[in-house]
Protein backbone atom coordinates (compact mmCIF):
# COMPACT_ATOMS: atom_id res chain seq x y z
CA UNK A 1 0.00 0.00 0.00
CA UNK A 2 1.36 3.39 -0.92
CA UNK A 3 2.01 5.67 2.01
CA UNK A 4 0.80 8.37 -0.30
CA UNK A 5 -2.69 6.94 -0.87
CA UNK A 6 -5.37 9.38 0.21
CA UNK A 7 -9.11 9.00 -0.04
CA UNK A 8 -12.07 11.34 -0.39
CA UNK A 9 -15.74 10.50 0.22
CA UNK A 10 -18.39 12.89 -1.06
CA UNK A 11 -21.84 12.92 0.54
CA UNK A 12 -24.68 14.57 -1.32
CA UNK A 13 -28.20 14.06 -2.51
CA UNK A 14 -29.27 12.75 -5.89
CA UNK A 15 -29.23 15.68 -8.32
CA UNK A 16 -26.51 17.65 -6.51
CA UNK A 17 -23.76 16.45 -8.82
CA UNK A 18 -21.74 14.34 -6.37
CA UNK A 19 -20.56 11.98 -9.09
CA UNK A 20 -19.64 14.88 -11.37
CA UNK A 21 -17.71 16.42 -8.48
CA UNK A 22 -15.78 13.17 -7.96
CA UNK A 23 -14.97 12.93 -11.67
CA UNK A 24 -13.84 16.55 -11.92
CA UNK A 25 -11.70 16.33 -8.78
CA UNK A 26 -10.08 13.15 -10.15
CA UNK A 27 -9.51 14.89 -13.48
CA UNK A 28 -7.95 17.89 -11.74
CA UNK A 29 -5.71 15.56 -9.72
CA UNK A 30 -4.66 13.80 -12.91
CA UNK A 31 -3.80 17.18 -14.42
CA UNK A 32 -1.85 17.92 -11.22
CA UNK A 33 0.30 14.83 -12.07
CA UNK A 34 -1.27 12.59 -9.45
CA UNK A 35 -2.82 9.19 -10.19
CA UNK A 36 -6.49 9.25 -9.36
CA UNK A 37 -9.62 7.14 -9.48
CA UNK A 38 -13.23 8.35 -9.15
CA UNK A 39 -16.32 6.21 -8.81
CA UNK A 40 -19.86 6.43 -7.50
CA UNK A 41 -21.47 4.34 -4.80
CA UNK A 42 -23.29 2.31 -7.38
CA UNK A 43 -26.90 2.75 -6.50
CA UNK A 44 -30.19 3.38 -8.16
CA UNK A 45 -30.04 7.13 -7.87
CA UNK A 46 -33.15 9.14 -7.14
CA UNK A 47 -33.34 12.89 -6.82
CA UNK A 48 -32.98 13.89 -3.19
CA UNK A 49 -31.84 10.49 -1.89
CA UNK A 50 -28.50 10.34 -0.04
CA UNK A 51 -25.68 9.44 -2.44
CA UNK A 52 -21.93 8.95 -2.18
CA UNK A 53 -19.05 9.26 -4.58
CA UNK A 54 -15.39 8.48 -4.02
CA UNK A 55 -11.96 9.65 -5.17
CA UNK A 56 -8.54 8.10 -4.53
CA UNK A 57 -5.22 9.90 -5.00
CA UNK A 58 -1.86 8.14 -5.20
CA UNK A 59 1.64 8.55 -6.57
CA UNK A 60 1.17 5.33 -8.54
CA UNK A 61 -1.67 3.65 -10.38
CA UNK A 62 -4.59 3.00 -8.03
CA UNK A 63 -5.42 -0.72 -7.90
CA UNK A 64 -7.78 -0.86 -4.93
CA UNK A 65 -11.43 -1.24 -5.98
CA UNK A 66 -13.39 -1.39 -2.73
CA UNK A 67 -15.50 1.52 -1.53
CA UNK A 68 -13.99 4.05 0.85
CA UNK A 69 -14.56 3.35 4.54
CA UNK A 70 -11.74 5.33 6.20
CA UNK A 71 -11.48 8.59 4.29
CA UNK A 72 -8.84 11.26 4.73
CA UNK A 73 -11.33 13.81 3.47
CA UNK A 74 -15.06 14.19 3.23
CA UNK A 75 -17.16 16.74 1.38
CA UNK A 76 -20.73 17.16 2.59
CA UNK A 77 -22.85 18.95 0.03
CA UNK A 78 -25.99 19.11 2.18
CA UNK A 79 -25.54 19.46 5.95
CA UNK A 80 -29.07 18.13 6.59
CA UNK A 81 -27.62 14.71 5.75
CA UNK A 82 -25.65 14.81 9.00
CA UNK A 83 -27.41 12.57 11.51
CA UNK A 84 -29.32 10.59 8.87
CA UNK A 85 -26.05 9.52 7.29
CA UNK A 86 -22.88 8.86 9.29
CA UNK A 87 -20.85 11.23 7.15
CA UNK A 88 -17.89 11.23 9.56
CA UNK A 89 -17.82 7.41 9.74
CA UNK A 90 -14.29 5.98 9.71
CA UNK A 91 -12.57 9.35 9.19
CA UNK A 92 -8.83 9.26 9.78
CA UNK A 93 -7.16 11.39 12.44
CA UNK A 94 -5.77 14.48 10.78
CA UNK A 95 -8.55 14.28 8.20
CA UNK A 96 -10.45 17.25 6.82
CA UNK A 97 -14.24 17.59 6.62
CA UNK A 98 -15.50 20.20 4.16
CA UNK A 99 -19.11 21.02 4.83
CA UNK A 100 -21.48 23.25 2.92
CA UNK A 101 -23.07 25.17 5.78
CA UNK A 102 -23.06 28.36 7.79
CA UNK A 103 -24.50 26.62 10.86
CA UNK A 104 -22.81 25.01 13.85
CA UNK A 105 -21.84 21.41 13.17
CA UNK A 106 -21.87 18.76 15.88
CA UNK A 107 -20.31 15.36 15.96
CA UNK A 108 -17.01 16.19 14.25
CA UNK A 109 -14.61 13.48 15.47
CA UNK A 110 -11.51 14.42 17.49
CA UNK A 111 -8.55 15.12 15.27
CA UNK A 112 -10.66 15.99 12.25
CA UNK A 113 -10.40 19.51 10.95
CA UNK A 114 -13.70 21.17 10.06
CA UNK A 115 -13.84 23.54 7.09
CA UNK A 116 -17.20 25.25 6.74
CA UNK A 117 -18.15 27.14 3.62
CA UNK A 118 -21.50 28.57 2.58
CA UNK A 119 -21.18 27.18 -0.92
CA UNK A 120 -24.88 27.41 -1.71
CA UNK A 121 -24.83 31.21 -1.24
CA UNK A 122 -21.73 31.52 -3.43
CA UNK A 123 -23.33 29.38 -6.13
CA UNK A 124 -26.57 31.38 -5.97
CA UNK A 125 -24.62 34.63 -6.27
CA UNK A 126 -22.37 33.59 -9.16
CA UNK A 127 -24.26 30.85 -11.01
CA UNK A 128 -27.77 32.00 -10.07
CA UNK A 129 -28.54 28.41 -9.09
CA UNK A 130 -28.08 26.49 -5.83
CA UNK A 131 -25.75 23.98 -7.53
CA UNK A 132 -22.72 24.08 -5.26
CA UNK A 133 -20.62 21.12 -6.36
CA UNK A 134 -18.10 23.18 -8.35
CA UNK A 135 -17.87 25.74 -5.53
CA UNK A 136 -17.01 22.97 -3.08
CA UNK A 137 -14.27 21.76 -5.41
CA UNK A 138 -12.54 25.11 -4.95
CA UNK A 139 -12.86 24.74 -1.18
CA UNK A 140 -11.44 21.20 -1.43
CA UNK A 141 -8.44 22.43 -3.45
CA UNK A 142 -7.67 25.11 -0.84
CA UNK A 143 -8.26 22.96 2.24
CA UNK A 144 -6.33 19.88 1.14
CA UNK A 145 -3.82 20.95 -1.49
CA UNK A 146 -4.51 17.68 -3.34
CA UNK A 147 -5.39 19.47 -6.57
CA UNK A 148 -3.98 22.63 -8.05
CA UNK A 149 -6.45 25.43 -8.67
CA UNK A 150 -5.33 25.92 -12.27
CA UNK A 151 -5.85 22.18 -12.90
CA UNK A 152 -9.33 22.47 -11.42
CA UNK A 153 -10.02 25.48 -13.64
CA UNK A 154 -8.92 23.50 -16.71
CA UNK A 155 -11.12 20.53 -15.75
CA UNK A 156 -14.15 22.77 -15.19
CA UNK A 157 -13.70 24.53 -18.54
CA UNK A 158 -13.45 21.19 -20.33
CA UNK A 159 -16.68 19.96 -18.78
CA UNK A 160 -18.59 23.27 -19.02
CA UNK A 161 -17.64 25.16 -22.18
CA UNK A 162 -18.21 28.91 -22.62
CA UNK A 163 -19.81 31.25 -20.08
CA UNK A 164 -21.02 28.34 -17.95
CA UNK A 165 -17.37 27.39 -17.51
CA UNK A 166 -16.49 31.01 -16.59
CA UNK A 167 -19.16 31.06 -13.90
CA UNK A 168 -18.21 27.70 -12.43
CA UNK A 169 -14.54 28.69 -12.36
CA UNK A 170 -15.46 31.98 -10.67
CA UNK A 171 -17.48 30.14 -8.02
CA UNK A 172 -14.70 27.61 -7.39
CA UNK A 173 -12.10 30.36 -7.16
CA UNK A 174 -14.18 32.40 -4.75
CA UNK A 175 -14.48 29.42 -2.40
CA UNK A 176 -10.77 28.71 -2.88
CA UNK A 177 -9.86 32.26 -1.79
CA UNK A 178 -12.23 32.22 1.19
CA UNK A 179 -10.86 28.92 2.49
CA UNK A 180 -7.24 29.94 1.80
CA UNK A 181 -7.85 33.18 3.70
CA UNK A 182 -9.26 31.31 6.67
CA UNK A 183 -6.41 28.80 6.98
Amino acid sequence: MGIFLRELRIHGRGGQGSVTAAELIATAAFKSKIYSQAFPAFGVERRGAPVQAFVRFDDKKVRLRSQIYEPDYIIVQDSTLIGDVNVFGGMKKGGIAIINTEKEIEGVPDGVKLVKIDATSIALEILGLPIENTTLMGAFAAATGEIEIHALEESLRERFPGSLGDKNVAAAKKAYEIVKGGL
Binding site: A26, F30, Y35, Q37, A38, F42, K61, R63, R65, S66
Partner: protein
Protein backbone atom coordinates in the same frame (compact mmCIF):
# COMPACT_ATOMS: atom_id res chain seq x y z
CA UNK B 1 -1.07 9.46 -24.40
CA UNK B 2 -2.36 9.04 -20.87
CA UNK B 3 -5.85 10.47 -20.41
CA UNK B 4 -8.40 10.17 -17.64
CA UNK B 5 -11.83 8.87 -18.57
CA UNK B 6 -14.63 6.54 -17.61
CA UNK B 7 -13.96 2.83 -18.19
CA UNK B 8 -16.93 2.55 -20.55
CA UNK B 9 -15.63 5.40 -22.67
CA UNK B 10 -12.17 3.85 -22.77
CA UNK B 11 -13.73 0.67 -24.14
CA UNK B 12 -15.72 2.70 -26.69
CA UNK B 13 -12.40 4.25 -27.81
CA UNK B 14 -10.87 0.79 -28.16
CA UNK B 15 -13.81 -0.32 -30.28
CA UNK B 16 -13.50 2.77 -32.47
CA UNK B 17 -9.79 2.10 -32.98
CA UNK B 18 -10.58 -1.52 -33.93
CA UNK B 19 -12.67 -0.23 -36.86
CA UNK B 20 -15.70 -2.54 -36.74
CA UNK B 21 -17.88 -2.14 -39.83
CA UNK B 22 -21.08 -3.10 -38.03
CA UNK B 23 -22.13 -2.36 -34.46
CA UNK B 24 -25.40 -3.64 -33.06
CA UNK B 25 -26.34 -3.54 -29.42
CA UNK B 26 -29.23 -2.90 -27.05
CA UNK B 27 -28.62 -0.70 -24.01
CA UNK B 28 -28.65 -2.30 -20.57
CA UNK B 29 -27.14 -1.19 -17.25
CA UNK B 30 -24.16 -1.14 -16.67
CA UNK B 31 -23.16 -1.55 -20.35
CA UNK B 32 -25.12 1.53 -21.49
CA UNK B 33 -22.34 4.12 -21.49
CA UNK B 34 -20.29 2.02 -23.93
CA UNK B 35 -22.97 1.84 -26.59
CA UNK B 36 -24.18 5.40 -26.04
CA UNK B 37 -20.65 6.67 -26.62
CA UNK B 38 -20.26 4.45 -29.68
CA UNK B 39 -23.53 5.77 -31.09
CA UNK B 40 -22.10 9.30 -30.75
CA UNK B 41 -18.80 8.24 -32.33
CA UNK B 42 -20.62 6.76 -35.33
CA UNK B 43 -23.06 9.70 -35.61
CA UNK B 44 -20.16 12.17 -35.50
CA UNK B 45 -18.47 10.34 -38.36
CA UNK B 46 -15.44 9.32 -36.28
CA UNK B 47 -16.09 5.65 -37.09
CA UNK B 48 -17.33 4.48 -40.49
CA UNK B 49 -19.68 1.75 -39.28
CA UNK B 50 -23.32 0.78 -39.62
CA UNK B 51 -24.89 1.14 -36.18
CA UNK B 52 -27.95 -1.07 -36.24
CA UNK B 53 -30.58 -0.11 -33.68
CA UNK B 54 -32.62 -3.10 -32.59
CA UNK B 55 -35.45 -3.86 -30.18
CA UNK B 56 -33.66 -6.49 -28.11
CA UNK B 57 -30.41 -8.26 -27.38
CA UNK B 58 -31.60 -11.28 -29.33
CA UNK B 59 -31.85 -9.11 -32.43
CA UNK B 60 -28.58 -7.33 -31.64
CA UNK B 61 -26.53 -10.49 -31.75
CA UNK B 62 -28.61 -11.91 -34.61
CA UNK B 63 -27.80 -8.91 -36.79
CA UNK B 64 -24.15 -9.18 -35.73
CA UNK B 65 -24.23 -12.83 -36.79
CA UNK B 66 -25.49 -11.95 -40.27
CA UNK B 67 -23.04 -9.09 -40.69
CA UNK B 68 -20.10 -11.22 -39.60
CA UNK B 69 -21.13 -14.04 -41.96
CA UNK B 70 -21.17 -11.43 -44.75
CA UNK B 71 -17.53 -10.69 -43.98
CA UNK B 72 -17.64 -7.62 -41.72
CA UNK B 73 -15.76 -6.97 -38.52
CA UNK B 74 -18.55 -6.77 -35.96
CA UNK B 75 -18.97 -5.50 -32.39
CA UNK B 76 -21.60 -5.78 -29.70
CA UNK B 77 -21.84 -5.31 -25.94
CA UNK B 78 -24.22 -6.53 -23.30
CA UNK B 79 -24.54 -7.92 -19.77
CA UNK B 80 -26.61 -10.12 -17.49
CA UNK B 81 -30.23 -10.49 -18.62
CA UNK B 82 -29.29 -9.18 -22.05
CA UNK B 83 -26.68 -11.89 -22.44
CA UNK B 84 -29.14 -14.50 -21.18
CA UNK B 85 -31.64 -13.32 -23.78
CA UNK B 86 -28.93 -13.70 -26.46
CA UNK B 87 -27.95 -17.18 -25.35
CA UNK B 88 -29.37 -19.07 -28.31
CA UNK B 89 -27.52 -16.81 -30.74
CA UNK B 90 -24.35 -16.96 -28.60
CA UNK B 91 -24.03 -20.68 -29.32
CA UNK B 92 -24.91 -20.18 -33.00
CA UNK B 93 -22.21 -17.53 -33.49
CA UNK B 94 -19.55 -19.88 -32.16
CA UNK B 95 -20.97 -22.80 -34.13
CA UNK B 96 -20.76 -20.80 -37.34
CA UNK B 97 -17.19 -19.83 -36.42
CA UNK B 98 -17.88 -16.06 -36.62
CA UNK B 99 -15.16 -13.99 -34.91
CA UNK B 100 -17.41 -11.40 -33.26
CA UNK B 101 -16.03 -9.51 -30.26
CA UNK B 102 -18.53 -8.58 -27.56
CA UNK B 103 -17.92 -6.68 -24.34
CA UNK B 104 -19.59 -8.11 -21.26
CA UNK B 105 -20.03 -5.49 -18.51
CA UNK B 106 -20.28 -8.25 -15.90
CA UNK B 107 -23.45 -8.19 -13.82
CA UNK B 108 -25.38 -10.70 -11.74
CA UNK B 109 -28.37 -12.62 -13.07
CA UNK B 110 -31.91 -12.40 -11.67
CA UNK B 111 -33.94 -13.23 -9.75
CA UNK B 112 -33.84 -11.30 -7.51
CA UNK B 113 -33.18 -8.42 -9.86
CA UNK B 114 -29.75 -6.91 -9.34
CA UNK B 115 -27.96 -4.44 -11.59
CA UNK B 116 -24.70 -4.90 -9.69
CA UNK B 117 -21.55 -6.82 -10.45
CA UNK B 118 -20.55 -10.43 -10.31
CA UNK B 119 -19.31 -12.78 -13.02
CA UNK B 120 -22.20 -15.21 -13.22
CA UNK B 121 -23.41 -13.89 -16.58
CA UNK B 122 -20.36 -14.63 -18.72
CA UNK B 123 -19.55 -17.80 -16.80
CA UNK B 124 -22.94 -19.36 -17.47
CA UNK B 125 -21.95 -19.37 -21.17
CA UNK B 126 -18.73 -21.20 -20.36
CA UNK B 127 -19.41 -24.00 -22.86
CA UNK B 128 -20.70 -21.82 -25.72
CA UNK B 129 -17.45 -21.80 -27.72
CA UNK B 130 -16.67 -18.10 -27.11
CA UNK B 131 -13.31 -17.12 -25.73
CA UNK B 132 -13.61 -15.34 -22.39
CA UNK B 133 -11.02 -12.75 -21.39
CA UNK B 134 -11.22 -10.84 -18.09
CA UNK B 135 -9.81 -7.36 -17.44
CA UNK B 136 -8.46 -6.01 -14.16
CA UNK B 137 -8.71 -2.33 -15.05
CA UNK B 138 -9.81 0.04 -17.79
CA UNK B 139 -6.45 -0.16 -19.56
CA UNK B 140 -6.54 -3.92 -19.75
CA UNK B 141 -10.19 -3.81 -20.84
CA UNK B 142 -9.17 -1.57 -23.74
CA UNK B 143 -6.15 -3.60 -24.74
CA UNK B 144 -7.94 -6.94 -24.60
CA UNK B 145 -10.34 -5.79 -27.32
CA UNK B 146 -7.49 -5.45 -29.83
CA UNK B 147 -6.04 -8.79 -28.78
CA UNK B 148 -9.49 -10.43 -28.89
CA UNK B 149 -10.10 -9.31 -32.48
CA UNK B 150 -6.64 -10.40 -33.54
CA UNK B 151 -7.00 -13.87 -32.02
CA UNK B 152 -10.66 -14.36 -32.99
CA UNK B 153 -10.04 -13.54 -36.66
CA UNK B 154 -6.95 -15.74 -36.89
CA UNK B 155 -7.81 -18.59 -39.26
CA UNK B 156 -6.41 -21.08 -36.74
CA UNK B 157 -9.13 -19.94 -34.33
CA UNK B 158 -12.21 -18.33 -35.94
CA UNK B 159 -14.11 -18.19 -32.68
CA UNK B 160 -15.90 -15.23 -31.09
CA UNK B 161 -14.71 -13.59 -27.89
CA UNK B 162 -16.15 -11.98 -24.78
CA UNK B 163 -14.07 -9.23 -23.27
CA UNK B 164 -15.37 -9.19 -19.70
CA UNK B 165 -14.97 -6.21 -17.39
CA UNK B 166 -16.76 -5.73 -14.12
CA UNK B 167 -19.95 -3.72 -14.25
CA UNK B 168 -19.86 -0.41 -12.33
CA UNK B 169 -16.52 -1.27 -10.68
CA UNK B 170 -14.79 -0.68 -14.01
CA UNK B 171 -17.50 0.59 -16.36
CA UNK B 172 -18.34 3.61 -14.19
CA UNK B 173 -14.91 4.41 -12.78
CA UNK B 174 -12.77 7.32 -13.98
CA UNK B 175 -9.11 6.44 -14.21
CA UNK B 176 -6.08 7.14 -16.40
CA UNK B 177 -5.75 5.13 -19.61
CA UNK B 178 -3.25 5.23 -22.42
CA UNK B 179 -5.14 5.49 -25.71
CA UNK B 180 -3.18 4.09 -28.67
CA UNK B 181 -3.01 5.99 -31.94
CA UNK B 182 -5.14 4.86 -34.87
CA UNK B 183 -2.14 4.16 -37.11
CA UNK B 184 -0.59 2.00 -34.39
CA UNK B 185 -3.75 -0.08 -34.04
CA UNK B 186 -4.09 -0.30 -37.83
CA UNK B 187 -0.58 -1.77 -37.94
CA UNK B 188 -1.40 -4.24 -35.15
CA UNK B 189 -4.89 -5.15 -36.32
CA UNK B 190 -5.24 -5.14 -40.14
CA UNK B 191 -8.66 -5.33 -41.78
CA UNK B 192 -10.69 -8.51 -41.25
CA UNK B 193 -9.83 -11.20 -43.77
CA UNK B 194 -12.73 -13.67 -43.60
CA UNK B 195 -11.98 -17.33 -44.15
CA UNK B 196 -15.30 -17.64 -45.94
CA UNK B 197 -18.23 -15.28 -46.34
CA UNK B 198 -21.72 -14.96 -47.70
CA UNK B 199 -21.53 -13.89 -51.33
CA UNK B 200 -24.50 -13.80 -53.72
CA UNK B 201 -22.18 -14.65 -56.63
CA UNK B 202 -20.77 -17.70 -54.89
CA UNK B 203 -23.48 -18.86 -52.49
CA UNK B 204 -22.71 -20.90 -49.38
CA UNK B 205 -24.70 -21.61 -46.23
CA UNK B 206 -23.77 -21.08 -42.58
CA UNK B 207 -25.30 -22.98 -39.70
CA UNK B 208 -27.18 -25.57 -41.71
CA UNK B 209 -28.50 -28.52 -39.85
CA UNK B 210 -26.19 -31.44 -39.24
CA UNK B 211 -27.44 -34.98 -38.99
CA UNK B 212 -26.08 -37.39 -36.39
CA UNK B 213 -23.52 -38.35 -39.03
CA UNK B 214 -21.87 -34.92 -38.84
CA UNK B 215 -22.89 -32.83 -35.79
CA UNK B 216 -20.31 -34.31 -33.44
CA UNK B 217 -17.45 -33.38 -35.77
CA UNK B 218 -18.48 -29.73 -35.66
CA UNK B 219 -18.25 -29.75 -31.86
CA UNK B 220 -14.89 -31.49 -32.09
CA UNK B 221 -13.61 -28.78 -34.43
CA UNK B 222 -14.81 -25.96 -32.18
CA UNK B 223 -13.04 -27.51 -29.22
CA UNK B 224 -9.86 -28.02 -31.26
CA UNK B 225 -9.95 -24.37 -32.34
CA UNK B 226 -10.38 -23.26 -28.71
CA UNK B 227 -7.34 -25.32 -27.78
CA UNK B 228 -5.32 -23.67 -30.57
CA UNK B 229 -6.55 -20.28 -29.32
CA UNK B 230 -4.18 -20.51 -26.34
CA UNK B 231 -1.11 -20.20 -28.51
CA UNK B 232 -2.73 -17.60 -30.77
CA UNK B 233 -3.78 -15.47 -27.78
CA UNK B 234 -0.30 -15.66 -26.27
CA UNK B 235 1.27 -14.59 -29.57
CA UNK B 236 -1.26 -11.79 -30.07
CA UNK B 237 -0.58 -10.62 -26.51
CA UNK B 238 3.18 -10.76 -26.99
CA UNK B 239 3.01 -8.80 -30.25
CA UNK B 240 0.84 -6.20 -28.52
CA UNK B 241 3.46 -5.95 -25.79
CA UNK B 242 6.24 -5.39 -28.31
CA UNK B 243 4.30 -2.62 -30.02
CA UNK B 244 2.70 -0.90 -27.04
CA UNK B 245 4.86 -1.84 -24.05
CA UNK B 246 2.08 -3.58 -22.17
CA UNK B 247 2.72 -7.30 -22.21
CA UNK B 248 -0.21 -9.70 -22.43
CA UNK B 249 1.76 -12.76 -23.54
CA UNK B 250 0.49 -14.66 -20.49
CA UNK B 251 -3.01 -16.04 -20.21
CA UNK B 252 -2.33 -15.79 -16.50
CA UNK B 253 -0.45 -13.14 -14.54
CA UNK B 254 1.58 -13.97 -11.46
CA UNK B 255 1.89 -11.46 -8.63
CA UNK B 256 4.44 -12.19 -5.86
CA UNK B 257 3.92 -15.94 -6.30
CA UNK B 258 7.58 -17.00 -6.50
CA UNK B 259 8.04 -18.23 -2.92
CA UNK B 260 4.37 -18.18 -1.91
CA UNK B 261 2.85 -20.83 0.37
CA UNK B 262 -0.69 -19.69 -0.34
CA UNK B 263 -1.97 -18.55 -3.71
CA UNK B 264 -5.14 -16.62 -4.31
CA UNK B 265 -6.69 -17.15 -7.75
CA UNK B 266 -9.15 -14.62 -9.18
CA UNK B 267 -10.35 -12.85 -12.33
CA UNK B 268 -11.21 -9.25 -13.08
CA UNK B 269 -11.14 -6.03 -11.09
CA UNK B 270 -10.87 -7.71 -7.68
CA UNK B 271 -7.29 -8.62 -8.63
CA UNK B 272 -6.32 -4.99 -7.95
CA UNK B 273 -7.70 -5.16 -4.41
CA UNK B 274 -6.01 -8.54 -3.93
CA UNK B 275 -2.62 -7.14 -5.04
CA UNK B 276 -2.87 -4.42 -2.37
CA UNK B 277 -3.91 -7.02 0.22
CA UNK B 278 -1.00 -9.27 -0.83
CA UNK B 279 1.44 -6.38 -0.34
CA UNK B 280 0.08 -5.80 3.17
CA UNK B 281 0.22 -9.51 4.07
CA UNK B 282 3.78 -9.70 2.68
CA UNK B 283 4.69 -6.73 4.91
CA UNK B 284 3.39 -8.84 7.80
CA UNK B 285 5.66 -11.71 6.75
CA UNK B 286 3.04 -13.89 5.14
CA UNK B 287 4.10 -15.78 2.00
CA UNK B 288 1.11 -15.17 -0.25
CA UNK B 289 0.67 -14.29 -3.90
CA UNK B 290 -1.96 -13.86 -6.60
CA UNK B 291 -2.54 -15.82 -9.77
CA UNK B 292 -4.74 -13.72 -12.01
CA UNK B 293 -6.59 -15.49 -14.80
CA UNK B 294 -6.76 -13.32 -17.88
CA UNK B 295 -8.33 -16.06 -19.98
CA UNK B 296 -11.03 -18.38 -18.67
CA UNK B 297 -11.85 -19.79 -22.11
CA UNK B 298 -9.57 -21.19 -23.31
CA UNK B 299 -8.63 -22.27 -19.77
CA UNK B 300 -4.82 -22.13 -19.48
CA UNK B 301 -4.48 -25.21 -17.28
CA UNK B 302 -0.78 -25.77 -18.13
CA UNK B 303 0.05 -22.20 -17.04
CA UNK B 304 -2.03 -22.59 -13.88
CA UNK B 305 -0.35 -25.89 -13.01
CA UNK B 306 3.12 -24.41 -13.52
CA UNK B 307 2.34 -21.22 -11.60
CA UNK B 308 0.87 -23.12 -8.64
CA UNK B 309 3.48 -25.92 -8.59
CA UNK B 310 5.22 -24.63 -5.45
CA UNK B 311 2.29 -23.54 -3.30
CA UNK B 312 0.70 -25.44 -0.42
CA UNK B 313 -2.82 -23.98 -0.54
CA UNK B 314 -4.99 -22.33 -3.16
CA UNK B 315 -7.87 -19.96 -2.37
CA UNK B 316 -10.04 -19.23 -5.40
CA UNK B 317 -12.03 -16.03 -4.96
CA UNK B 318 -15.21 -16.70 -6.89
CA UNK B 319 -17.70 -14.09 -8.06
CA UNK B 320 -20.05 -16.81 -9.20
CA UNK B 321 -21.87 -19.77 -7.68
CA UNK B 322 -21.76 -23.19 -9.26
CA UNK B 323 -25.14 -24.22 -7.89
CA UNK B 324 -25.47 -27.89 -7.05
CA UNK B 325 -21.81 -28.75 -7.53
CA UNK B 326 -19.64 -29.94 -4.64
CA UNK B 327 -17.15 -27.23 -5.57
CA UNK B 328 -18.92 -23.94 -5.00
CA UNK B 329 -17.34 -21.97 -7.86
CA UNK B 330 -16.86 -22.50 -11.57
CA UNK B 331 -13.30 -21.18 -11.49
CA UNK B 332 -12.25 -23.42 -8.62
CA UNK B 333 -13.33 -26.53 -10.51
CA UNK B 334 -10.96 -25.67 -13.34
CA UNK B 335 -8.10 -24.75 -11.01
CA UNK B 336 -8.55 -27.94 -9.04
CA UNK B 337 -8.41 -29.95 -12.25
CA UNK B 338 -5.26 -28.11 -13.35
CA UNK B 339 -3.34 -28.89 -10.12
CA UNK B 340 -4.92 -32.31 -9.52
CA UNK B 341 -1.68 -34.22 -10.04
CA UNK B 342 0.14 -31.97 -7.57
CA UNK B 343 -2.39 -32.85 -4.89
CA UNK B 344 -2.58 -29.23 -3.74
CA UNK B 345 -5.75 -28.35 -1.84
CA UNK B 346 -7.95 -25.90 -3.74
CA UNK B 347 -10.86 -24.08 -2.09
CA UNK B 348 -13.61 -21.99 -3.67
CA UNK B 349 -14.62 -18.98 -1.59
CA UNK B 350 -17.70 -17.32 -3.03
CA UNK B 351 -18.39 -13.64 -2.49
CA UNK B 352 -19.01 -10.29 -4.08
CA UNK B 353 -22.26 -11.56 -5.56
CA UNK B 354 -24.75 -8.95 -6.73
CA UNK B 355 -22.27 -6.15 -6.05
CA UNK B 356 -21.31 -6.96 -2.44
CA UNK B 357 -18.15 -4.96 -1.84
CA UNK B 358 -14.93 -6.98 -1.51
CA UNK B 359 -12.35 -5.40 0.79
CA UNK B 360 -8.73 -6.15 1.60
CA UNK B 361 -9.82 -7.66 4.92
CA UNK B 362 -11.98 -10.18 3.02
CA UNK B 363 -8.95 -11.20 0.97
CA UNK B 364 -6.90 -11.64 4.16
CA UNK B 365 -9.68 -13.71 5.70
CA UNK B 366 -9.96 -16.17 2.81
CA UNK B 367 -6.16 -16.46 2.76
CA UNK B 368 -6.30 -17.58 6.40
CA UNK B 369 -9.15 -19.94 5.61
CA UNK B 370 -7.07 -21.65 2.91
CA UNK B 371 -4.08 -21.86 5.26
CA UNK B 372 -6.21 -23.60 7.87
CA UNK B 373 -7.93 -25.86 5.35
CA UNK B 374 -11.40 -24.39 5.63
CA UNK B 375 -13.66 -26.01 3.07
CA UNK B 376 -15.49 -24.21 0.25
CA UNK B 377 -17.87 -21.57 1.56
CA UNK B 378 -19.30 -18.10 1.08
CA UNK B 379 -17.58 -15.07 2.58
CA UNK B 380 -19.24 -11.85 3.69
CA UNK B 381 -22.55 -13.64 4.17
CA UNK B 382 -25.20 -12.09 6.43
CA UNK B 383 -25.27 -14.13 9.58
CA UNK B 384 -29.06 -14.52 9.79
CA UNK B 385 -29.06 -17.05 6.93
CA UNK B 386 -26.57 -19.33 8.67
Amino acid sequence: MLQIMEGSHAVAEAVKLSRPQVVSAYPITPQTHIVERLAEIVADGELDADYICVESEFSALSSCLGASAAGSRVYSATTSQGLAFMAEVVFNVAGMRLPIVMTIANRSLGAPLSIWNDQQDSLFLRDSGWMQLYAEDAQEAMDLHFIAYKAAENHEVLLPAFVCFDGFILTHTFEPVDIPKQEEIDAYLPAFNPYQRLDAKDPISFGMYATPDYYQEFRYEINAAMTRAKKVLREAGAEFGEMFGRDYSGLVEEYRLDDADTAIVAMGSVCGTIKDAVDEMRDDGKKVGLLKLRSFRPFPYEDVRTALAGVSNVAVLEKNINIGSRMLGAVGLEVKDAVYKNGTPVYSYVGGLGGRDIRRKDVKMITEWAETGRNDCFFGLREEVL
